[in-house]
């Protein structure tokens, strides 16, 4: 896999690398600007210490190559002859201009799969828009439905359109790969960040198409639908928990165990003797729901996320903690499955904790960690050992700013 992506697409190659693919990150001489994306190791802004770079380039090899030079283009084509995939996040048309677009690459290797990830896809009226995450999220209809009703809409404080489109790019590449293995034919996988986020909306397009309604706006910690509002996020002693009163569904009898716990602390007197399994949201007046939620909220405020979650696990109730990074790292569930892995960073003289395998298989393993490449770390491996260049040629290429 030849990986030309910046920080918006490097997650895609990382997913292939952890499945065992040989992914070669190709950076400009001097290094990819996405090495400057934080957070940084020990909070030191340094292109060699970006934790984002580490995370999304794990298990890759790395070379430098200036594809804007003629020699760089020739070298890239030689690499593409032996490659299965090329991944890129340039503006539509950029690789074509360099003579490295799909038509050019498929001539040297008809099996090649070129995967392009851009905000709006390769063609169409918005395809050349300047569109970082906030714009992708907004154009996808996602920002409109997030936040509090008395303030402007908000986005995640995290670039989710890049993550989502990288995942979709991986799926599209692997479906194209399946077809290629049957037929020998590659193709150009054209991924849109806007459409990747539209996929996460669920209701909005259908609410409009079927009902001509815009139902969800900005409901904050609540959820409103079918004329009923219910609370989902509750403050607790040390943060927040996510819970929904259970009514009118199998399993709703566990409400009684929660209420029993509340009773021990003098709370929930107004919630006794209710047949939770047969109640329905649409039959109970909103004031009643508000009253019960307020009572449950008092109980949650007295306890920590962990206490409340442990109790919910015991009572087979559905409550979950609103986790931050610390909570995730300390999760007993993740620990019990040996989820976290330690990856050696010899240059930093330590090991860093990374998320590990998201699957357990009877046959295949998740590739456990080689740290992300240093700038040009594998130039010798690839240019000398694999492409057969001499040291002299390499020195010239370096002088000419090709590598």
């Amino acid at each position: 896999v030849l990986d030309l992506t910046d920080d918006r697409g490097s997650f895609c190659g990382k997913i292939l690398a952890e499945l065992g693919a040989d992914v070669i990150k190709i950076e400009k001489p001097g290094g990819d600007p996405s090495r400057n994306v934080g957070p940084f190791y020990k909070d030191i802004p340094d292109p060699k210490k970006s934790l984002s770079w580490f995370a999304f380039n794990l298990n890759k090899r790395g070379i430098t190559l200036n594809i804007e030079t003629r020699d760089g283009q020739e070298i890239f084509k030689r690499l593409a002859q032996k490659a299965d995939f090329v991944l890129e996040t340039f503006k539509p048309g950029y690789l074509d201009k360099l003579g490295l677009g799909y038509d050019d690459l498929s001539k040297v290797n008809p099996r090649i799969i070129l995967t392009s990830v851009t905000p709006f896809g390769q063609t169409g009226p918005y395809s050349l828009f300047n569109s970082p995450d906030l714009i992708n999220m907004s154009m996808a209809g996602y920002t409109f439905i997030c936040g509090d009703s008395d303030r402007p809409p908000v986005r995640f404080s995290s670039d989710q359109s890049y993550m989502q489109s990288s995942l979709q790019a991986t799926v599209g590449s692997l479906i194209a790969h399946y077809y290629r293995e049957q037929t020998g034919e590659g193709q150009h996988v054209d991924v849109s960040m806007q459409e990747s986020m539209i996929w996460t909306l669920c209701y909005a397009p259908h609410d409009w198409y079927l009902l001509k309604q815009i139902i969800h706006t900005r409901e904050g910690s609540f959820w409103k639908r079918l004329g009923v509002t219910y609370r989902l996020i509750y403050p607790c002693k040390d943060g927040y928990v996510c819970y929904r009163l259970l009514m009118a569904q199998p399993g709703a009898e566990v409400m009684n165990d929660l209420i029993a716990s509340m009773n021990k602390e003098g709370l929930g007197e107004n919630m006794k003797d209710i047949s939770w399994t047969t109640l329905s949201f649409t039959e109970v007046p909103q004031e009643k729901i508000n009253e019960w939620e307020a009572e449950v909220g008092k109980y949650f405020l007295r306890h920590t996320k962990l206490e409340l979650h442990e109790e919910a696990v015991r009572q087979r109730n559905v409550l979950q903690p609103v986790n931050n990074a610390k909570d995730l790292y300390e999760s007993p569930q993740l620990a019990s499955r040996d989820f976290w892995v330690q990856v050696r960073h010899p240059e930093l003289r330590e090991s860093i904790t990374y998320p590990g395998s998201y699957f357990r298989s009877t046959e295949t393993a998740w590739q456990k960690g080689k740290r992300a490449p240093l700038i040009g770390e594998h130039n010798d491996d690839i240019y000398i050992k694999e492409l057969g260049f001499s040291r002299d040629v390499l020195a010239i290429l370096k002088r000419e700013n090709v590598i």
Binding site: L19, Y41, L51, F120, G121, T123, G124, P125, F129, P132, M137, G141, F144, I145, V154, F156, S157, Q164, L167, V171, I175, E181, S192, Q194, I198, W199, T200, L201, C202, A204, D207, W208, L210, L211, K212, Q213, G220, R225, I233, G239, Y240, C242, R244, G251, R316, V318, N324, A325, L328, Y329, S331, Q333, L334, S336, R337, P355, Y358, F359, S361, E363
Partner: protein, 406 residues
């Protein structure tokens, strides 16, 4: 160029329900795989009962969300508790490549339909079980659902204002991370089978998959002790970076400025008003330090224009701007979405016209397209038994009569 389906010939047996699993099998089906969705007379997929419904249509075949996530599939109703129901399942396994299930841990074992059984029937079967936190571990038996589970993935606490409680995504965000990982795992398992002849069993946890998207955030805690929190619309490296009111009710435009050149272009488009000349806004650092004031001033400029006008003017000079689109904008107006044919209008025998989505990636040689609209509840029980499994009329009638099939 003749266009074909990428996954023609692939056979999938689908025990999954609600959102995550069905999205996976819709992707496979829309790329040409044969997907047989197993429900039972007493347990339809719960999404069939989710709003919005087609006005005037009733029952199990009118949900817009179900329709979207179940195109291209056959639906068969089998009572899995009946030994003869299990026999039908095993016949389907014999000819399948993939079995997907999303029950709680242990349910397939109780049904005597776990991987050990499947493997006996078809030695190279690929079976994937997707659960919220995995088949094992102290929380594996806790019941939950996506809307609540999404709080655990680390992103919910990053959505909203720093002085307020977090906002909750309307649709469970983890339900829209796991499907892509399940597809990646399945397509990789097919590749592994092609190379080795071996099938496999995969235990995939939604929580573990979604934590991968949060990797830098967790590493920032482990290495630096930092706990990242929600920042409203702030984003280091950009100023302004926000959402601004426009003409009309609940109309907004997003603007994000990274460089001083973009800032100059924004000022020029605003007509270089006096306030833009203040040193407070001269550089990224200055603008970052005065963002609240900056947001107010930009909002004064946007509020008398339509969001579309602001977007067009700013994009024309290279400044990142975009309308906060609604369901109406996406379905009826956005010319890019139309160009990309993201939504497809299908006609269903009972529900009538509805929308389904296509994947956000285009495969020009093998474009995805629904083979047919979503199946009515149990619509293909007879077709699957007689045409696919070649079951005799008498046997089929008997299995229907005894409630094994419906």
């Amino acid at each position: 160029m003749t266009k074909k389906y990428a996954l023609e010939g692939l056979k999938v047996l689908d025990f999954s329900w609600v959102f995550t699993g069905p999205i996976v099998t819709k992707y496979l089906g829309d790329h040409g795989a044969e997907v047989i969705k197993i429900e039972s007379a007493t347990r339809p997929d719960g999404t069939r009962l989710m709003t919005p419904f087609k006005p005037g249509a009733m029952g199990l075949n009118a949900s817009g969300v179900f329709a979207n996530y179940n195109s291209s599939k056959y639906s068969i109703n089998i009572n899995l508790r009946e030994p003869r129901g299990k026999e039908v399942v095993k016949k389907l396994v014999q000819r399948a490549d993939i079995v997907l299930e999303t029950f709680g841990p242990g349910v397939m074992t109780k049904l005597q339909l776990d991987y050990d059984v499947m493997k006996q029937v078809k030695s190279d079967i690929i079976m994937l079980s997707m659960t919220m936190v995995g088949q094992t571990g102290p929380h594996s038996q806790q019941p939950s659902f996506g809307q609540v589970l999404q709080a655990t993935n680390g992103f919910v606490q990053l959505l909203g204002w720093p002085d307020r409680s977090p906002s909750l995504p309307v649709a469970a965000y983890t339900d829209y991370i796991a499907p892509w990982y399940v597809l990646i795992a399945l397509m990789s398992a097919l590749d592994f089978r092609r190379r080795t002849g071996k099938g496999q069993y995969i235990d995939l946890a939604m929580l573990e998959a979604s934590v991968h998207l949060a990797a830098p955030m967790v590493m920032d805690y482990v290495v630096n002790g930092n706990i990242q929190d929600r920042m409203g619309n702030r984003n280091p490296g950009y100023a302004p970076h926000g959402v601004y009111p426009c003409k009309g009710e609940e109309r907004w435009v997003a603007i994000a400025v990274a460089t001083d050149e973009e800032w100059q272009a924004l000022c020029k488009t605003m007509g270089n008003p006096e306030w833009t000349k203040s040193t407070k806004f001269e550089t990224l650092l200055h603008r970052t330090e005065h963002q609240d004031e900056l947001d107010k001033l930009i909002g004064e400029w946007t509020k008398n224009q339509t969001a579309e006008e602001v977007m067009a003017k700013l994009q024309a000079v290279g400044v990142a701007a975009g309308v906060l689109q609604t369901g109406e904008d996406l379905v009826d107006k956005d010319p890019q979405i139309k160009h990309r044919e993201h939504f497809v209008e299908l006609d269903h025998a009972e529900m009538g016209k509805h929308l389904t989505e296509l994947p956000p990636f285009k495969l020009p040689k093998t474009p995805a397209y629904p083979q047919r609209p979503f199946p009515s509840f149990g619509e293909h029980t007879e077709y699957v038994c007689k045409d696919i499994l070649h079951m005799g009329d008498d046997e089929f009638a008997e299995l229907i009569g005894t409630g094994v099939l419906a």
